[in-house]
Amino acid sequence: DAGVTQSPTHLIKTRGQQVTLRCSPKSGHDTVSWYQQALGQGPQFIFQYYEEEERQRGNFPDRFSGHQFPNYSSELNVNALLLGDSALYLCASSPTGIAEAFFGQGTRLTVV
């Protein structure tokens, strides 16, 4: 079992650009959640996908969008990047109806 995998591991973008981060959930998990972790802080919930729909959303602007594919993998898109978007982006997957979440190793995004 490969666990939750995220790509890429590191990324450097320029202000105003767009970025796409990818996540493959743990085998058998159908729910994918995305979190933003600023340096020295706890992760903050961005949104969650289940059955290819956004089910919950945290306090993030519309510049943050996502998608879930039929194989349960997911993408996080961020448009019009700001310096403040620099953070570790974590993907977590969960099995149906189970209160557990398993995390990937994260994508470190740096906006310059």
Binding site: T31, S33, A92, T96, A99, F103, G106
Partner: protein
């Protein structure tokens, strides 16, 4: 809205000693789940232990145990026989139960973390 508070930004412990990390939370829910996650320098968030609020018995996983005080809304983590590999950031987190319909798991609400350093 639920909140999670970790009041110890940093802690230090000698190898083989015992250390306790504190966490308090606020919620109006009667049923929920509490977690401790460990985040080493490798960045991956690793589940240490999980507690279901409706279970009175404190959860235990090898050297890790919790003291869950529901009335006081307190959820502390005790690490026994500390090892150098326990050095990491530790996060306390809260989750409401999964939705009754649709089966989607709820979001995690994290505290700000406690940086634990195990000294040789």
């Amino acid at each position: 809205a639920q909140t999670v508070t970790q009041s110890q930004p940093e802690m230090s412990v000698q190898e083989a000693e015992t250390v306790t990390l504190s966490c308090t939370y606020d919620t109006s829910e009667s049923n929920y789940y509490l977690f401790w996650y460990k985040q080493p320098p490798s960045r991956q968030m690793i589940l240490v232990i999980r507690q279901e609020a409706y279970k009175q018995q404190n959860a235990t996983e090898n050297r890790f145990s919790v003291n869950f005080q529901k009335a006081a809304k307190s959820f502390s983590l005790k690490i026994s026989d500390s090892q150098l590999g326990d050095t990491a950031m530790y996060f306390c987190a809260f989750m409401k139960p999964p939705y009754l319909y649709g089966g989607a798991t709820n979001k995690l609400i994290f505290g700000t973390g406690t940086l634990l350093a195990v000294q040789p």
